[in-house]
Symmetry: C2
Subunit: 125 residues, 2 copies
């Protein structure tokens, strides 16, 4: 049986307030799919790291772990740092199916929502 888990991977920042939209997003996912283990993780400044998040999901028995980069574009962090971190997880736990997804900002529905939100900001300004 496949047990799926989800890691949301964000950049991180010094100010804890920065993480609030990502925490809200994780809450929405948990509300929509309470049986899916979800961990929010960070590249820098915040914890847990991708490694720690991976270990949390391993402990929960996940056999397929999907990593979604919470970045608007696919820059160096998504194209270089993240695949390297994924490779470490794969080497440490090759029995698990680790799946790296494209940056969330490449998704059409996110692009559409941003366009809509920007137009709303203009209308209300």
């Amino acid at each position: 049986m496949t047990i799926s888990g989800l890691i949301l991977f964000a950049h991180g920042a010094r100010d804890p307030v920065w993480a609030e939209p990502f925490e809200k997003m994780a809450q929405l996912i948990k509300a929509a799919q309470p049986e899916l283990p979800v961990v929010l993780s960070y590249l820098e400044f915040m914890t847990p790291s991708l490694q720690e998040a991976g270990h949390q999901l391993l402990k929960k028995g996940c056999t397929k772990i999907v990593v979604v980069p919470l970045f608007l574009g696919a820059g160096g962090h998504v194209r270089k740092d993240l695949p390297q971190l994924m490779q470490e997880l794969k080497s440490q736990s090759p029995q698990v199916n680790w799946l790296l997804q494209p940056a969330i900002g490449l998704s059409d529905e996110v692009i559409q929502a941003m366009a809509h939100a920007a137009l709303k900001q203009v209308a209300m300004a």
Copy 2:
């Protein structure tokens, strides 16, 4: 009469492919509201800068210019760099109403779209 213009302000990256989702977003906005002047601008690595975008909209006669930061969270670029750049524009062209909006990623519809897109990625993985 108020003539509104919109500046979308993104981080920028060395790889031109990085800007594609932002360009798509600008196209969606232009399609939805063809009469609204829209310029995509960047903090670094790409052009035009916020200054140059501002001047483009001034030349089009805009009297109210709304700046929407295309960032998922409000980190240092949004909280420090951008207000400073806005201040320069305001000092240079005080006759224009320059309006800085919150980061697009703080908008509920963007957060919801990201949550939905992430769940779709898990389902399809």
